[in-house]
């Protein structure tokens, strides 16, 4: 799909570069500026979280990184090459719940992107097994989505995003529909998977606690027009623990994000 870029990568695999990106939605009455002059760099292997109030364009930015939407201006490169259309070899995407195909079993869902490319059945099955094992769902492959809990469905989605071993994993509010306990568990699970695979993760959320708990870096966005208002490093050590949530370092980071969001809301 990007043969030139594959031969001469300008950047190491997993790097994301966003340069002066703007996005304008044209409606019949007026043009809405969804994003204005957004620039950011994500180094390979980093866990970066985008937060901001509704309408700040964080999901739009993520969709553009996935090649699901094209920016009006500016450039986005993934591993050094632009992404004019979705490419699951370079970028895996995990959505909010309910993006699993309900008529397929868990393993068939995970195999789906491989089946689109004509990978043989046995090869597909083996790779789906590996991905399901990685997300802790060994032995659940034959179940249909309606037989799985919300957290398990999201694990299947993550396995599906990782099955082609892309260096980048983009996650659009993946845990938003889960209850709080499951959400905490899934956060820890995601960090474990991230540590095991070394992927670059860009994660969109509404939850400030989730943002600080998971991230190496938090990018705070504000709406009308969508732009970046702060870029924080999270110096908390890893592995992250539940006790850190009540610590001063954690609290002051969360307060700093909250002040930005309150100003713009």
């Amino acid at each position: 799909m990007q043969p030139l870029a594959n031969i001469t990568p300008l950047k190491p695999a997993g790097a994301i570069e966003v340069r002066n990106v703007g996005q304008i939605f044209k409606t019949t009455t007026q043009d809405v500026v969804a994003l204005e002059d957004v620039s950011l760099d994500v180094r390979p292997g980093r866990f970066v979280v985008l937060v901001g109030p509704s309408g700040c364009g964080k999901s739009t930015l993520l969709m553009m990184m996935a090649g699901l939407r094209q920016q009006t201006s500016g450039t986005i490169t993934i591993s050094g090459a632009p992404i004019p259309e979705p490419d699951p070899n370079r970028v895996g995407v995990v959505f909010q719940e309910a993006s699993l195909f309900p008529w397929l079993t868990a393993e068939e869902n995970v195999e789906f992107p491989l089946a689109l490319r004509g990978v043989t059945k046995s090869d597909r099955r083996a790779r789906a097994q590996d991905a399901l094992k990685l997300v802790g769902l060994d032995g659940f492959g034959k179940r249909h989505p309606h037989e799985l809990s919300g957290g398990m469905k999201q694990r299947v989605s993550i396995a599906r995003g990782l099955v082609q071993d892309p260096p980048v994993l983009l996650m659009d509010e993946p845990f938003a529909a889960l209850d709080e306990q499951t959400r905490m568990t899934m956060g820890d699970e995601l960090l474990r998977i991230w540590a095991a695979t070394g992927k670059t993760v860009v994660f969109v959320t509404h939850s400030l606690t989730e943002a600080v708990y998971l991230a190496d870096e938090v990018i705070v966005m504000s709406p009308r027009p969508g732009r970046i208002v702060d870029h924080l490093q999270v110096p908390l050590p890893r592995p992250r623990t539940y006790e850190m949530l009540s610590g001063d370092a954690f609290g002051s980071l969360r307060d700093r994000i909250w002040r930005h969001i309150r100003k713009s809301a």
């Binding site: 959505f95 309900p102 989505p145 309606h146």
Partner: protein, 266 residues
Amino acid sequence: MSAATLRRLIVIGLIVLWEILPRAGFIPELFLPSLSSTLAAGWNEAGEYGHALAVTLYEVAISMAFACGGGILLGAIVGSLPRPRILIMPMVSSLYAVPLVILYPVFTVWLGIGSESKIAFASIYGFLPTMLATAAGIQTIDPQLLLAARSMGATLSQRLVRVIIPAAIPTVLSGLRVGGALVIVGVVVSEMLISSAGIGYLISRYRTILDSPHVFAGVLLVLAMAIAFNAAIKWIERKAAIWQTGTRAGQDSAGEVAPTALQPAT
């Protein structure tokens, strides 16, 4: 006692009452002949009923093919393309409220009183709900599923075959259930109105000579046909739809949707 047992008991009770009430003289045989005399009447004219059933089944089969094939095809087009949808849907929806049976005399003028006019009428009659359900099934596919497929690099034709069609199946099936039932209604009703063959024709002919046992024998045959059709659809639904949530509408349409729920005025 489970609901299924209770249901069976009710059916058995009705059958027993059907035999006892006319026999005991509570109901005149003219109004309701007993079950045994109905069966005997049917058995004595087995050849005539067999021929009528063959005619009716033939008309039902052809109409079913037109109604379901055309309904699914046009429903898919209308459901996936906004422009035809805006153009056609209001027309189809208002047509659905018209008692189409008023058109039947016109069909007999155009096509004669043979099978052709029944097939034309029943096809149109069953076509509308099938088309509306298919259009709705495709329109209500969760856009998240299509977005996810696209993020995995699915081409347009891959999305059609691997996402849109399987996701629409439950709603389409519920449309077929209603459309197929209406095809049977359409064929039998048109046979009763103006005709020279078929079960509906037999029923109406025996009615004019006040031969109740033979009328009810015909009614039993139509009943059996409807029950067989329903069983066939249920079997297909079990085969095809392990899931019921492929579309947002699918969650409601899966269960026991009474065929009459969507039925227009006859």
